[in-house]
Symmetry: C2
Subunit: 140 residues, 2 copies
């Protein structure tokens, strides 16, 4: 069995998000929370918890994909600041949040985690934003 075959997405990440497609290393998810345009990158290799569980080449690729996700959000969504984070306090599978923050969004100057309840996208908005992000990410 190859590494790619052995990898499966954490069920909690899967339940909270819409899959947009795969970059060379990472699956790209759109968090189903209309409070913030919010991507999650999940490297498709099994048993990763920490960034430093990736080898040097994987770390370099992940940084390239983080930058790609950040640029896609800036192009697609109004955005005053980007937040990039790998925390893993609740879901241990390695994943990186890339979040477009706007002045006046529900979390204000605080981090988004736990700030307010997620607000699922209406179907039309989910389709529109998901499509625009897929295009900006080159996943179209």
């Amino acid at each position: 069995m190859t590494d790619a075959a052995a990898w499966t997405l954490d069920p909690r990440l899967e339940a909270d998000s819409i899959p947009l497609g795969d970059l060379p290393l990472s699956r790209v998810l759109l968090m189903n929370d209309a409070n913030y345009p919010w991507l999650i990158l999940v490297p498709r290799r099994p048993n990763l918890v920490e960034l430093i569980d990736l080898d040097d080449s994987g770390q370099a690729t992940l940084m390239i994909e983080i930058a790609r996700a950040a640029r896609a959000l800036k192009e697609t969504a109004a955005c005053d600041k980007l937040n990039v984070a790998s925390l893993g306090n609740t879901v241990r599978q390695l994943h990186v949040h890339v979040i477009a923050r706007r002045n006046g969004d529900p979390a204000g100057a605080a981090p988004v985690w736990g700030a307010v309840a997620a607000r699922p996208y209406p179907a039309a908005e989910r389709e529109r934003l998901g499509g625009a992000l897929r295009d900006a990410l080159g996943l179209g």
Copy 2:
């Protein structure tokens, strides 16, 4: 004036931390908060706000330095999970948090920002941990 000469550390980051030394790209700070072993990397180039304000080479170097900080924390401090984040919601100068989280620490399953008030290190503990981290980072 070179870029390096024009860079200055944000005064708020400076006030909240102890400088440990300079890696090729980043100044390394120890947050003066004994609740969590907590490093901050600040790339020493002026006018950076977002990760994607760094050129590709700078992004790659920053990832290498993040991994180095992460390994130094794991070697030096008891640690159940690492948190890595570039947020910038309050201090806009680009900086990356690398934080050693422990089961039962004051923030629990939440992110550390805003969880509890910072608890400054006693001088002896600051010297001990700062020295151990400098050694682990190769800044000794």
